[in-house]
């Protein structure tokens, strides 16, 4: 490729401020036709903000955007679409109660007043054949798997003639195998001259998907590299800003008595469809059992069943050998179970109440916080000060409403409360999701400390790296069942990936051979 290409898209000096945060600080970006640009950075580095500016969801405070060499004013997603820019968001932008076809034409302006769904369906089928994105135009979104929903998102962009596709962490919801398929789809598209921006925080994906990579750190652009001229090691260093990722010293696992035992548990999801189908699992004191799996395979329901938030429709739950099947959340709490929920501000904390109040939400039932049903404000403050100090929660005052804290500090407050109340089992769901490196590290240290204390820890995570680092055993979930449990010392990403795609551990011996050969073939 000797010819000098002109960029199809240029962003110059983009700055975006949110109250108290500089999300983008004079970021530049160039994208060439037929190429894939990876935007690499940790959570909170400003990747999504930059892309939301590009599609007109946010307005930049400073900076200019040029598309095909011309200055572009993008005030809304509509403007972006008119310029051929489209984005697949991390949370899919789909209306669940509508069909695939309806979602695809949603908001299009050059549509007849009464659109013919038949014509639309035909065109969708055409496009899906061309790019190998199979999906039924008449299916409702809620009937589709997460992978299929992503296909709809991509179809939607292509249908609208997008030339520049932005994909925001598209692989987070996919199995490693599905990710390879996505890479294939992107290849077809770039061969046709379309270009893509690929947001990720995983170095391996940069290497697999992209031609160019730009690294963001704390809202600033810190590096631009041609993918073929860089290495995962260099990218990791650029992204984190220090030489190596932290390693946690971990004592050998010394499991004690059985803390949690699930026997053939069945449960439904909110729609009444089966979410757990005959799941069995045992956790001992002094060990961390990790749950791996693609989001939406029953992990949430598993945590809810253990904590009494969801009824089981079959099977039994034992906590310290005591039958706790379908007991209410309060009894489970009293049995010594603590829970760090996935949804921090929605479930784990009460945003409009003070940090101190949030810290006593487990301890308020007993003396010395409460005496004869009357709260003791001084005791609450004392306790709050102690927790704030011990867990290094950064808050202006204990009386500050917790919603004004950063995500990491809210999480630390929840951890402080739950760890203080924990007496046996700690259920942690995506505990480090969305946190920066420092906060992630302290969260992981706290979980390990609980293990040293002899507690059992059930750790649900979407980050295989995290599971391999701190879990003692890893159980892989697929469609509400455990595909197998492996000691983390013996586990590797490839095996876990296959199990995440629904291959049982017993059947793995054969499959691994195939997988290894295909992956070498594709690389």
């Amino acid at each position: 490729m000797n010819e000098v290409k002109t960029p199809i898209l240029e962003m110059q000096g983009i700055t975006k401020r949110f109250p108290g945060v500089l999300a983008n600080d004079h970021v530049d970006l160039e994208l060439y036709p037929g190429e894939v640009l990876a935007l690499l950075g940790e959570n909170g580095a400003g990747k999504s903000t930059l892309m939301n500016v590009l599609v007109g969801l946010y307005r930049p405070d400073e900076g200019e955007i040029y598309v095909r060499g011309k200055r572009a004013e993008i005030h809304s997603p509509k403007d972006a679409a008119a310029l051929g820019i489209g984005m697949v968001h991390q949370n899919f932008m789909l209306v669940k109660t509508m069909t695939v076809a309806e979602n695809i034409i949603l908001g299009m302006s050059d549509l007849p007043f009464v659109p013919s769904m038949e014509t639309v369906g035909k065109r969708i089928t055409e496009i899906s054949k061309r790019y190998n994105l199979q999906v039924d135009p008449n299916a409702y979104i809620w009937q589709l798997s997460v992978g299929e929903q992503q296909r709809v998102e991509i179809l939607k962009l292509v249908y609208r003639g997008a030339e520049i596709l932005i994909l925001d962490e598209p692989t987070a919801v996919l199995t490693p195998q599905e990710s390879h398929e996505l890479a294939g789809v992107l290849k077809v598209m770039t061969d046709e001259g379309k270009s893509a921006i690929f947001i990720t925080h995983k170095m391996e994906e940069v290497m697999e998907f992209s031609d160019w990579v730009r690294v963001l750190q704390h809202g600033k652009l810190v590096a631009v590299r041609r993918t073929q001229d860089t290495s995962p090691q260099e990218l990791a260093r650029l992204m984190v800003g220090r030489e190596v990722l932290f390693r946690l010293d971990k004592a050998a696992c010394t499991p004690t008595e059985t803390i949690l035992e699930l026997q053939d548990v069945h449960a439904d999801d909110d729609k009444g469809l089966p979410a757990l189908r005959g799941l069995s699992l045992t956790i001992h004191g002094g060990e961390i059992v990790g749950i791996a799996g693609v989001a939406g395979n029953g992990q949430r329901q598993l945590s809810e069943v253990v904590t009494g938030l969801r009824r089981v429709t079959g099977g039994q739950v034992f906590i310290r050998r005591k039958d706790m099947t379908n007991q209410n959340p309060l009894s489970v709490i009293k049995a010594g179970v603590s829970h760090i929920p996935a949804d921090r501000i929605g479930m784990g904390a009460v945003g409009n109440m003070a940090v101190s109040e949030n810290l006593v939400m487990k301890g308020y039932r007993e003396a010395p916080i409460v005496i004869n049903g009357v709260l003791r404000p001084n005791r609450i403050l004392e306790f709050a000060h102690k927790m704030i100090e011990m867990f290094r929660i950064a808050t202006p005052t204990p009386q500050t409403r917790i919603k004004f804290l950063s995500g990491g500090n809210i999480q630390k407050a929840i951890l402080a409360r739950e760890i203080d109340a924990c007496d046996g089992l700690l259920v942690a769901v995506y505990p480090s999701r969305g946190l920066d490196v420092g906060a992630t590290e302290s969260v992981r240290r706290m979980l390990l400390a609980q293990r040293e204390e002899g507690m059992g820890v059930l750790l649900i995570s979407e980050d295989l790296e995290e599971l391999l680092t701190i879990a003692d055993r890893i159980a892989v979930m697929f469609e509400g069942q455990i595909m197998g449990v492996v000691a983390s010392d013996d586990a590797d990403v490839e095996t876990l990936g296959l199990m995440m795609a629904g291959v049982k551990r017993e059947d793995l011996a054969v499959e691994i051979e195939d997988a290894v050969s295909t992956s070498t073939a594709s690389s």
Partner: protein, 318 residues
């Protein structure tokens, strides 16, 4: 005998149900955009009093309708401003519209009347819509009642299928449904959420005003305090009963119009049941409808309400 009874029940049902259909279809559209409007009672009362006053002085029922539409639109615009732009609590905003609307309607009812009646509108007789009999069709036994109605009832026959078609078959209807289900997505797809919510809240208010006008110009011509008797609230229940589908709005209106008709007949026939207990029927029926719908929804796991109903939307919320 039985035929004339059925005819009269059907006729009263249609007349009583007309105002309900207008307001229900309007509220379905408003709620489909994600805005709950509990101000209907106030809007209907204001529509009724202003329509009657206008018709009384101008002699034109048509002008009365126009004023009722405008008044309903203005009150709804206040609600839209508070809930969409200022992101106020939708329940409380709706309640305050109703409190304000009923207060103001009562004030106007004692202020807009002629000097001879001490400025009271109560007791005045003004122009009204009269039933138009359609030749031949109105002669059909029982079903003839469908064709001897006033013009506003005839318009209902058009409104309901049109409202259904617009919501489910057109581009704009698709966008409207998306805004109420998932405003984030609608916004990302280039639909103007704010504009959509304003538009259909105001549209809903206009239809509520029209429903009120039907009460004071056709159903019980004239103005009395609390003319609507809670119809604005019953409509909120009818929207749930219709499961947010304009086509089914007709069913609820028939149910509640029917109970009015039955009430009339029982009272006319002479009965030992106290009138107050008969008058309780629509309200008790509303509660029953709500319980049954809630139970049925829980059983079938189908959520009929727009998912974003009641939630303010703001893009740069971070």
């Amino acid at each position: 005998m039985i035929i004339s009874l059925l005819t009269s029940v059907l006729s009263i049902t249609l007349r009583a149900g007309t105002s309900l259909v207008y307001a229900t279809v309007g509220e379905i559209y408003t709620e489909r955009s994600g805005i709950l409007n509990l101000g209907l009672e106030g809007m209907m009362l204001m529509g009724a009093v202003t329509a009657f006053a206008t018709a009384y002085y101008s002699g034109s029922v048509g002008l009365g309708l126009v004023v009722a539409l405008a008044v309903g639109a203005m009150l709804a615009a206040i609600h839209a401003f508070l809930t969409v732009t200022m992101r106020a609590n939708q329940v409380v905003s709706g309640l305050s519209i109703t409190l304000f609307g009923s207060g103001l309607a009562s004030f106007l009812g004692q202020r807009l009347g002629p000097v001879s009646n001490n400025y009271y509108l109560v007791g005045m007789v003004g122009p009204k819509f009269t039933p138009i009999r359609i030749p031949w069709l109105s002669k059909i036994p029982v079903l003839g009642a469908l064709f001897s109605q006033d013009i506003l009832t005839y318009l209902v026959y058009l409104l309901v299928p049109l409202a259904w078609f617009y919501l489910y078959k057109t581009r704009e209807g698709l966008n409207l449904r998306a805004v109420g289900e998932n405003p984030q997505t609608a916004d990302a797809m280039g639909i103007n959420v704010t504009r959509t919510r304003y538009l259909y809240t105001v549209f809903g208010g206009m239809l509520a005003g029209l429903g009120g006008a039907h009460l004071s110009l056709a159903y019980t011509p004239g103005w009395t305090e609390n003319l609507t008797g809670g119809r604005g609230w019953i409509v909120i229940a009818l929207v749930i009963f219709a499961m947010w589908n304009p086509a089914r709005a007709i069913l609820g209106a028939i149910l509640f119009g029917g109970i009015n008709a039955v009430q009339f007949r029982i009272q006319a026939a002479g009965t030992t049941i106290p009138a107050e207990f008969l008058n309780m029927l629509p309200y008790l029926l509303t509660i029953l409808v709500l319980i049954v719908m809630t139970w049925w929804e829980a059983l079938s796991k189908r959520i009929g309400a727009p998912a974003a109903l009641g939630n303010a939307y703001m893009r740069e919320d971070k």
